[in-house]
Amino acid sequence: MRTALLIPLFVIVGIVAIYTIRHYIFTLNRLFGTQRQPYVDIGTAQWPPVTILVPAHNEEQVIGGMLDALLGSDYPAERLSIVVINDRSTDGTREILDDYARRFPGRVKPRHRTGGRPGKAAALAELSGEVETEVILVFDADYLPGAGLIKQLVAPFFDPEVGAVMGRVVPLNLNRTLLTRLLDLERSGGYQVDQQARMNLGLVPQYGGTVGGVRRSALLAVGGWRADALAEDTDMTYRLIVAGWQVVYQNRSECYEEVPENWPTRIRQIKRWARGHNQALVSFGWPLLKSVRRLPATVVFDGLLLLGVFAVGPLLLIGFGLATALYYVGFPIEYGILPVLGVATYSTLGNFAAFFEVATAARLDGSRNRIRLLPFLMFGFLVSLTSVSVATVTQMVQSLRGEDHHWEKTERYRNGNGGTGGRP
């Protein structure tokens, strides 16, 4: 009985330990390694035509500000088209978009969807075959890109191997609640350390579906966006990697975003991410493993770990359940002190890796007192762990029943005024 509990427990501890070591390596690399941002210095070039896709559903509060920001870009205006995909909005989004299209003919092109599958992936999939420019950037409707950001995000596409590029998102509304402050810390860790370290080490930075873009020929080569993808960004990342393209991350290319301000919204968001990631794990786990002859082993290994990152949540809960059961049957003394030390080491060093990453990132960002909130991240982790596990179990049940997934949009908070159309 004890052995039956111990073996899976140590397998889980082993798997999680691999993630722990990965966190440490990433953080130490970000602290001491060469920071690879080879394309960010391209300030002058023959800039290619670019289409910016903005999926939008009931975005009347934010879409105007977003369009103003894009229209203020220093990218050559004649080479920049903004296509807002209005996905059956029921608020004033359509009217705002039509007004912008009238005032900026040829630059702002609304696309009103009234049918088909709802959701971002489906909206992008519908446009995949129609965009004619070689570079396609994607922004969510609540983002506020700076004037120089478009050039920065286009620059990596001068490298013919680059299939997708990702910039850094920076929370704007962090002063709202404890949650927004915790998400600000998490985002710092995720981008400033995690993504940049993967870029430095030539691993798999993730295309995040906003503040980024894809090469049209790469998109077409891998079959365009999948309408049924639950996380079209993760799906695209892996299809590109498996097909031999590179995804690059530019830490310098920053853009403001809104993060969820209340826990229910956050829980819905993370559940959606978990389902999307798990879907990608099922779809690309084996193809990625098979591509080990074509891709560097480190890329395949890191790609698998990235794919499994949301599966770790349920694993941890199972591990906790096993540890509880083992507690009741009594830990076998004959196993000696080493396993105890192993678990104790993991419990301290292991769990601490994520805190190290976040604190390092915030410190690199020049942040000070916000790092003091670090212990409260434990509560955030507990919510995430539970939500991810619930989402995974629900997804498995739905999959067995053959049920379809309902797409959920993240709530917006900004009180926009519909934008100014570029006027001061």
Partner: protein
């Protein structure tokens, strides 16, 4: 201050180099945060390793004194709380070289009877109900409370059906808790070595943090153990699993993270705080 016009050649060169880093108003111009990293990794890692070694060694040699102090705390707490039994010392050693004692209590807690189980069940149900009232910003707390209720439920079920198989006695439990705490304390210089000593802070601050964390845990561990003993004494063994699983190692780690988060907010000697919007 030497002037570039009048100073010696090295002074002039130093001033010109400094001038190259300064903006119009004289403030230093740091690289963008996206490019920042720590210089001298070799020196830092060597320093961290050395400091870690000193920290771990120092901790190991302080174990006998720590054991004595913990026994004293146990005796004071035992007397204050009026717990049954007595405080005794158990011998322990590290690698057969450093010998020390760990205190524990001689009284044995009783398994729950029907009344205790009923009370625990009612309390657990009440806590669970309470969790549903925790909304808005208190949602994370609700999750924690539900986890608590879940663990306590396992204890109630266990003691309802298999009380005779419960493998722990309070005295062993206390020794185990303190020894696990010692493992955590021993690891702290190591963890700090490679997650904190690397940063651009003075040696004094690094040592200060180490001493603060170890000092805090040195007091907290016996207090927590005695609180557990008291709660088991009044609540029977049915509360022990929850105390072990939810209020043991987790609290030690939280103490450490709290100190670490505070220390990481201390000002950097390497780069300035960037301007905010």
């Amino acid at each position: 201050m030497a002037s570039p016009a009048t100073g010696s050649a090295p002074e002039r060169e130093g001033l010109l180099r400094d001038l190259a880093r300064r903006g119009v108003r004289g403030g230093t111009i740091d690289p963008h945060r996206a490019m920042l990293k720590l210089p001298d990794p070799g020196r830092r890692l060597a320093m961290a390793s050395t400091t870690t070694l000193i920290g771990v060694t120092g901790f190991l040699f302080s174990l006998p004194a720590l054991g004595t102090a913990w026994t004293w705390i146990f005796r004071q707490a035992h007397s204050f709380l009026g717990l049954p039994g007595a405080v005794v010392e158990r011998s322990a050693s590290v690698l057969g070289r450093i010998h020390f004692t760990v205190p524990t209590l001689t009284f044995d807690a009783i398994p729950p009877d029907g009344t205790a189980l009923l009370a625990a069940t009612i309390a657990t149900a009440a806590v669970l109900m309470l969790s549903f009232a925790l909304r808005g910003p208190l949602v994370p707390l609700a999750y924690f409370v539900r986890a608590l209720a879940l663990v306590q439920t396992t204890a109630i079920v266990y003691f309802r059906f298999w009380p005779e198989y419960f493998p722990y006695r309070l005295s062993e439990y206390l020794v185990g808790q303190l020894q696990a705490g010692l493992v955590v304390m021993g690891l702290i210089p190591l963890v700090l070595g490679f997650t904190f000593y690397l940063f651009d802070l003075s040696l004094i601050r690094k040592l200060l943090l180490t001493v603060m964390v170890l000092g805090h845990l040195a007091v907290f561990l016996p207090l927590l153990a005695m609180l557990h003993a008291y709660l088991v004494a009044i609540g029977t063994l049915v509360v022990l699993p929850t105390l072990f699983l939810m209020f043991g190692l987790l609290l030690h780690v939280m103490v450490f993270v709290a100190f670490y988060g505070w220390a990481m907010s201390w000002p950097s000697a390497l780069w300035q705080e960037p301007k905010r919007s």
